[in-house]
């Protein structure tokens, strides 16, 4: 598949999901919807890795770059943000590691338990 063909598949799929997201009765992000639809198509064999592989690896390998304008956009919010800066920073800096720890511990614990069960049937 030509590289522009791959791009067309991905862009049209995302566009379609934006339409679907607008029809839903509750707010749901089009990007997560398109991830789910793409996963469904891959699992059912409607799409193969060769249809989207090269553009996908370009996008995922440079994923952080696409966040750059949002980070620069923080200067626009500075005025609103500076009024609540201290609680904002405390909450942002404390809760992120906390969520990481609780999530990862839960997964690790449950996986270890499952492995133990498999070893001693």
């Amino acid at each position: 598949m030509p590289i522009l063909g791959e791009l067309a598949v991905i862009l049209i799929l995302c566009l379609l999901c934006e339409g679907i997201a607008a029809l839903l009765p509750f707010p749901f992000p089009a990007s997560v919807l398109s991830l789910l639809l793409l996963l469904f198509l891959l699992l059912t064999g409607g799409l193969k890795e060769r249809h989207i592989g090269r553009v996908s690896s370009f996008l995922t390998q440079n994923m952080a770059f696409f966040f750059l304008p949002s980070c620069v956009g923080l200067i626009e919010y500075w005025e609103t943000l500076s009024r609540v800066l201290v609680p904002f920073l405390i909450i942002a800096l404390l809760t992120t590691p906390l969520v990481y720890a609780v999530t990862a511990w839960t997964v690790q614990l449950l996986m270890a338990r499952r492995r133990n069960k498999e070893e001693q049937p």
């Binding site: 991905i10 862009l11 799929l13 999901c17 934006e18 707010p27 749901f28 992000p29 990007s31 997560v32 398109s34 991830l35 789910l36 793409l38 996963l39 891959l42 699992l43 890795e49 996908s56 996008l59 995922t60 994923m63 952080a64 770059f65 696409f66 966040f67 750059l68 304008p69 949002s70 980070c71 620069v72 923080l74 200067i75 626009e76 609103t80 943000l81 609540v84 201290v86 609680p87 904002f88 405390i90 909450i91 942002a92 800096l93 809760t95 992120t96 590691p97 906390l98 969520v99 990481y100 720890a101 609780v102 999530t103 990862a104 511990w105 839960t106 997964v107 690790q108 449950l110 996986m111």
Partner: protein, 227 residues
Amino acid sequence: MIETILSSPLFGLGLSCAAWCVGLWVQKKTGFLLCNPLVVASGLIILILTVFQIPHADYDRGGSLISMFLGPATAVLALNIYNQRRLLKTYFFPVLAGCLAGCLTSLGSILLLCRLLTVESSIAASLLPKSVTTAIAVAISDSSGGIRSITAAAVISAGLVGALFSPLFARLFRITDPVAQGVGIGASSHALGTSRALEIGPLQGAMSSVSLCVCGILTSILTLFLP
């Protein structure tokens, strides 16, 4: 001439790519944790815009073109998940339970801290969905009376913290399992953290993509039940 240059979307595009490369170079030279390309590049662009007094709107004509690709970049994470489908099937329950625990912790700890710090309710509503990806977070914040810009800033901050420090968290909290590491990153710092997880390893990347989706969906549902 200057006005023509500034009004072209190529200005924001070119500046972003160039600043990104400077960021990559700085990271390679220093190897210092905080010299992440995203941090260096956004700092550099903010500095340039401020020093030359260029309006942010001029930069954003090109910048918004880059942001537009966040959707497709999130969508193609499906391929990473697909490639790890066998493992995911085995550990489906632990992954799901981890995501649920993470979402509840996120919402609970933010509510508690907001109460402790006596933050006004509109700010609390804006901070509440900060662990999930921007699109979901802004929708949740809107529906609960939050301020969009603060939500966007909180989401980016959570993402940056995860992208910068997640390897450190793994060591600090003794998380040795790659699946657990991935799910933790996705739950605490959405797609921005996932970009780092992909660099750590394909398994971490895929699990982070899974948890970014699951947590996004769970958080949207859970916030419906909040007072």
